[in-house]
Symmetry: C3
Subunit: 206 residues, 3 copies
């Protein structure tokens, strides 16, 4: 529907794929952290901070490039939104890792690994979809599956909260665990925001 | 101030009115839920999920339409923002219903029905205002009243919080009730965001 | 990079400087409130509400002006974003003051004054930077320093949270103090959002 004035700048697609790669690395660290002991958790959380810095640098490069070019492969706002939404997912996962260490959590609610599995699946799907933004092909299955996964994560989150309040008698423990669980839910929501943005971009281009 | 290139696409006004109609239905269910017993609450919360799905479909239709048309009755960003802001109100109210059921709340803080009354008034005013976007007439009284109601809701919310902390001795009960009360406040804020957007749109058109 | 059609409208720079001046006043009141007794706190919180109203009026004037003019000194969205981001900082600080009074907090966590000192430094830097938007000169040192301060505030916040959970045995006290500390962190984040917007604006203009 839009006029294409110049050959597309392919760098954006590469940068989005790199950024989504950091999301995949991050969720891997989060999964690793769940199974680690206290010393291991601290070390993994520190590694996550490195991943976050690298991701920030990529997001920053996208924004700066955006501000210095007239012609972009799709709407500036959508590029900006996509970079931010991917970065927000990494921030949420880093916060979850940090809180687990900071709060010296002994035992996480039992369905947390299931939530992290959903996050891993979302991260892989998102990483696979980014290069397809170039051709806008085969994106529908990506966003459809993300919406299904997010719906599943939402139901899981609500069950997890119900269990948490049923099983936790110590209020301070509950405050800690609830914050961690809520931050993981924010990460899930982030994947849905990315998928909705990709859907918007695809539709504008069709 | 803006050039009008074609006859306005009236469908947006109809879609916004439909969406605001779902907000009215939602707040009605929320009010009903407050007075219901445990079984009734569960059933009403389930009905709210249906309303949320219908609202999502309308918001999605607005977005998709927006991405496929060049000419819109007012700024694309404002249309997108309005659809999202109305949808956010429904999400917040659905979350409130869900949490009341999920947390098996026995007794809500005593001024919660007053907050819901403010929400009902906001919903009706918003629903009445949507068709007037077509002519941009008589909108000022709408947004002025919403700002007054939001101010009232804010003071109510702060009083409610003060009472909650004074009267609740069990910390876990307090965590539950505070979250519900905060989500209701989010819904109130949502109405103000809608009103501010309408004010912005009206000003651009004047 | 952008064409300049008319002489720049200088009023925006004045309005942003005025708004940032309200931020400086606000953080001063917050610092004062920390050292005050109960009656003093109530009176200071009431004065902050006045500052918030004045700031709202300035932000509203920026928005209204924006909607009525075609030519703006820089991107409309950035002007709108800057006004909102400054306003959000004031709202967060007002909320912190209000919560301290509302929750009848006896003793704040011991590193809170350090956080407020960082906020004060951020406010002054931001206020000093606003008039420089006119010439776009010497802005780099501003945003670089804000990013450093925000990083410092983030580490302070995490340490503060760790202490809070170690030292507080009463869960309800912990809920109150954690909310206040989190709201102060929101205010810090607000300064970073402002700095990022200024960086974006500067880059577009370069």
């Amino acid at each position: 529907m839009r006029l294409r004035l110049t050959p597309r700048d392919t760098t954006y697609f590469d940068l989005f794929t790199t950024l989504a790669g950091h999301v995949v690395t991050g969720v891997g660290l989060l999964a690793e952290l769940l199974g680690a002991d206290k010393a291991g958790r601290k070390e993994i959380a520190a590694r996550f901070v490195q991943v976050e810095h690298e991701a920030d640098a990529v997001a920053h490069e996208i924004t700066m490039r955006l501000n210095q070019t007239f012609v972009t492969p799709f709407d500036r706002d959508d590029i900006y939104g996509l970079a931010n939404a991917l970065d927000d997912i990494i921030d949420a996962m880093e916060e979850a890792c940090d809180l687990i260490v900071l709060y010296k959590v002994e035992e996480l609610p039992r369905r947390v690994p299931e939530v992290v599995q959903v996050l891993q699946r979302c991260a892989e799907l998102t990483h696979d979809a980014m290069p397809r933004l170039r051709t806008m092909e085969e994106l529908r299955e990506y966003w459809t599956e993300i919406h299904l996964l997010e719906h599943q994560a939402d139901r899981l989150h609500r069950k997890l909260l119900a269990h948490l309040f049923e099983e936790t008698t110590d209020a301070i423990t509950l405050i800690k665990l609830k914050e961690i669980v809520d931050v993981l839910e924010d990460a899930c929501d982030g994947f849905e925001r990315v998928a909705t943005l990709v859907e918007t971009i695809a539709l504008k281009e069709s």
